[in-house]
Symmetry: C2
């Protein structure tokens, strides 16, 4: 594979001149520019990123760490991230932690080795120590760390409030809240807080179904939901922590001959594409995934440029009413 040196030789110039042409720096005559262009084309030259980043001490790569790639919420997040990253000249190094600490930590180490420009960490669980002495920016999504990284979240609390208010307004009196992960603590827990506050105020009881991260990672809640709904036939309103859970609730209701929304009303969270593909379509809390992704990439970009970041950014959610309420 051709190197800068080869191009320089071919064009009858030195590497520094060619480098300057490539990076549009300093004085270059049009003639030189042309010669370099021809040499590059002739030799099919591609700049060596390794050498470049070795010299520059950084890359244009963002380490994107997610717990789950095929979960529609993260799939959409990744998709948006990639698009905004690309717009800003960044590439994405995709790291799937699969909900395990070890893999997450190993990927963080790897990102450091790769000298990524920064890390965007989505609702993970790595021990804080890994971030000690890190000299690159870390932006968290739906996760708040105590060590000074900037965080982007949606208004989880408000999501819980909206869901509770809606369910109660629809006449539900025995609620179920599904999806909070017992073993992790994250901003999404605030959904429960908001939900609880409204329920308490309106004196409507609710059951909280705390799940494990393995369920989260396998996206398999059916059994849990079936046993719970069977054991509690009084339940008439469900607030699920994701549309995936809500969609599975729908299937379980069908299996148990519980009509939705007549007997049980359901509200999901996220508003991803499956929300409009179920029957009935899901009423859900819309998360502004696109805006959140854009914000995260922009913040990372600002941080790289040395700007000071807002410590915590919370974006609004809203209720999208469809057919399950």
């Amino acid at each position: 594979m051709a190197t800068l040196k080869d191009v320089a030789k071919e064009a009858g110039l030195t590497t520094s001149t060619v480098s300057r042409v490539l990076n549009n720096r300093g004085y270059i005559s049009n003639n030189t520019r042309k010669k370099v262009g021809e040499a590059i084309k002739k030799l099919n030259y591609h700049p060596n990123e390794a050498a470049r980043s070795l010299r520059m001490k950084s890359t244009n790569t963002i380490g994107l760490i997610v717990p789950h790639v095929s979960h529609p919420y993260f799939a959409e997040m990744i998709s948006n991230m990639e698009a905004f990253a690309y717009e800003n000249g960044y590439k994405i190094l995709l790291c799937n932690s699969q909900c395990t600490h070890e893999k997450e930590e190993e990927y963080i180490r790897m990102c450091l080795s790769y000298k990524v420009a920064g890390i965007i960490l989505c609702s993970g669980s790595a021990a804080l120590e890994v971030f000690d002495g890190i000299d690159i920016p870390v932006i968290t999504m739906e996760r708040f760390l105590d060590n000074g990284t900037a965080s982007v979240e949606c208004d989880n609390r408000q999501g819980g409030v909206l869901a509770a208010e809606k369910l109660i307004a629809c006449g539900c009196r025995h609620l179920l809240h599904v999806g909070r992960i017992g073993t992790l603590s994250m901003p999404a827990d605030m959904r429960t807080e908001g939900f609880k506050d409204v329920c308490d105020k309106k004196k409507v009881p609710f059951i909280e179904l705390i799940t494990e991260d393995t369920l989260y990672c396998n996206m398999e809640y059916s059994e849990l939901l079936e046993s719970t709904l069977s054991a509690h036939p009084e339940i008439d309103g469900v607030f699920a922590n994701s549309d995936v859970i809500a969609a599975q609730t729908l299937q379980v209701c069908r299996k148990l001959n519980i009509s939705v929304p007549e007997k049980v009303k359901i509200i999901g969270f996220d508003d991803v594409n499956i929300a409009t593909l179920t029957t009935p379509q899901l009423t859900t809390i819309h998360q502004p995934v696109k805006e959140m992704s854009k914000m995260a990439v922009n913040m990372l970009h600002d941080a790289v440029a040395g700007k000071l970041l807002v410590r915590r950014t919370v974006l609004p959610v809203n209720l999208i009413e469809r057919e399950t309420t």
Copy 2:
């Protein structure tokens, strides 16, 4: 950030010794090993991948190019790829071409610059010239190139055959086949071939609804489906090229008051998670995404090791009967 040199200094050794410890090569005394380990921990040292890959002239990174990240089929593909790549010590550089030639080609160039170990290209559309003079392996998924790259596909033709046979066996006599992209030519087109062969043999007419890649990328077929089903009330069987299309067909049928499976039967393709979240659940052609992903990564691994690859690998599909037939 600490370098190898710093570690060597801290441990009272030279860089090459430390390097040998890190890479487990040559003779190293236990004492040295211990000292190096301590120094690394103390300085929080992370090897510089850029320097490493500059020296080694290659990386452990796979360039994964997909047309679409949030499409459930690709999301699942990416998820599997990442898992198998990780198992084999590779990292994933995620490239989303968004169905555009330009972006795909730019990403290919970028992969060359990054000196990736190899490229896995999923059903893209880049001009072949981009691959001229490439010295790294390229594995294609669901795409067959004439220039000697190895390809992994599912038995698309058989998928079409199974779908047609099933629909006809269910009594359908006016079929619709949706999803073939008119502007691209790819292995998935064989689904149509298989479908057509069976229809011709059994003398069952079918309409082919050729779509554009913009629809594919936006996952938005509703309007097209609605107008087609309205214009052709005789249609009683639909073979969709993906579960996403099938799920949207289901919604359109509901809107048009067409009962599924009584009046119209539907068969999807892929067998991704939404297939079990619709009501009724989708009968679909199962693609062995996991096996295909594993195969692609393994083939890439073999290619890197210099092994000769099978030119074209076709994995079997099967029909999963659920509730839309």
